[in-house]
Amino acid sequence: MNLSLVDFLFYVFATISVGGGLAVILSRNPVTAAMFMILSLVGVASLFVLLEAFFLAVLQVLVYAGAVMVLFLFIIMLMDVGPDSGKRTALSKTRLISGFVALFGVGLLTVLTLEYSGVATDSATHWQDVAEETSVEGANVVFSKSVKSFGYGLFTKYMLPLQVAGFLLLAAMVGVIVLSKKQDEEKSSEATEDASSASAEPRPEEA
């Protein structure tokens, strides 16, 4: 079997993304896991490039590898959680059951995909050529390389979902502010109560 360059790259990127994912769930140290997660996300972005969805690949790197994983690393280092201890807790019944359920789910998913992916795609491995320009076919926007297609689709067919997504982001922002602020106030009031009731001696950083 002779592999073209693109096919070879597919296998490389698939290995990177799946292997990175495996390394994430197997590593003990959260920082290491986050680094492997970035590797996996970049692998997925490369798969997007192979599928000629260039805009999504850029978004993947910017939003996931850039913003989300930096947030993760920030929180990990803020909480200063070390590596998980090497010792495993005793295999409880719940854990055993959940492991079996997970394996069963994975097996079912794999079998179903292998069984039906051929049906869904009519065994056609040939990819159509990707349009360069934005075009509309009936109610659908045709897949194209141009970013304009995204804008066109988002602001016509998906106008309402776009608004909802914006509102979701606003809600998440407000939620995060409330979550962190309220906790702070409780904490500080507790701290002042503790300080007033328990300790008369000043803390070193206050002195």
Partner: protein, 102 residues
Amino acid sequence: MDTIGVQDFLVVAVLLFSVGFLGVVLRRNLLFVLMSLELMLNAVNVALVAFSRHSANMDGSLFVFFIMTVAAAEVSVGLALLVALYKKRQSVFSEHMTMLKN
């Protein structure tokens, strides 16, 4: 792409999803659980883009855009919750999150 079809991308998506699923079910550190959730969302993204490209329809790619939005919101809220829990419990392990018990 001569020998690579949609099926191959689907297999990659299933593998990624399975890895993420196993991470969610088996890890006890909530940071890892959140990361595994991200992995699962990414797997779905791969499948969506592959189908979108195959059927020359932009809908799948636009859906990926929304999934990214939801994932970003989910991570920010999840991490805020995790920090709040950590302040209370000094732990990020799921077995220590028993405030609703009894």
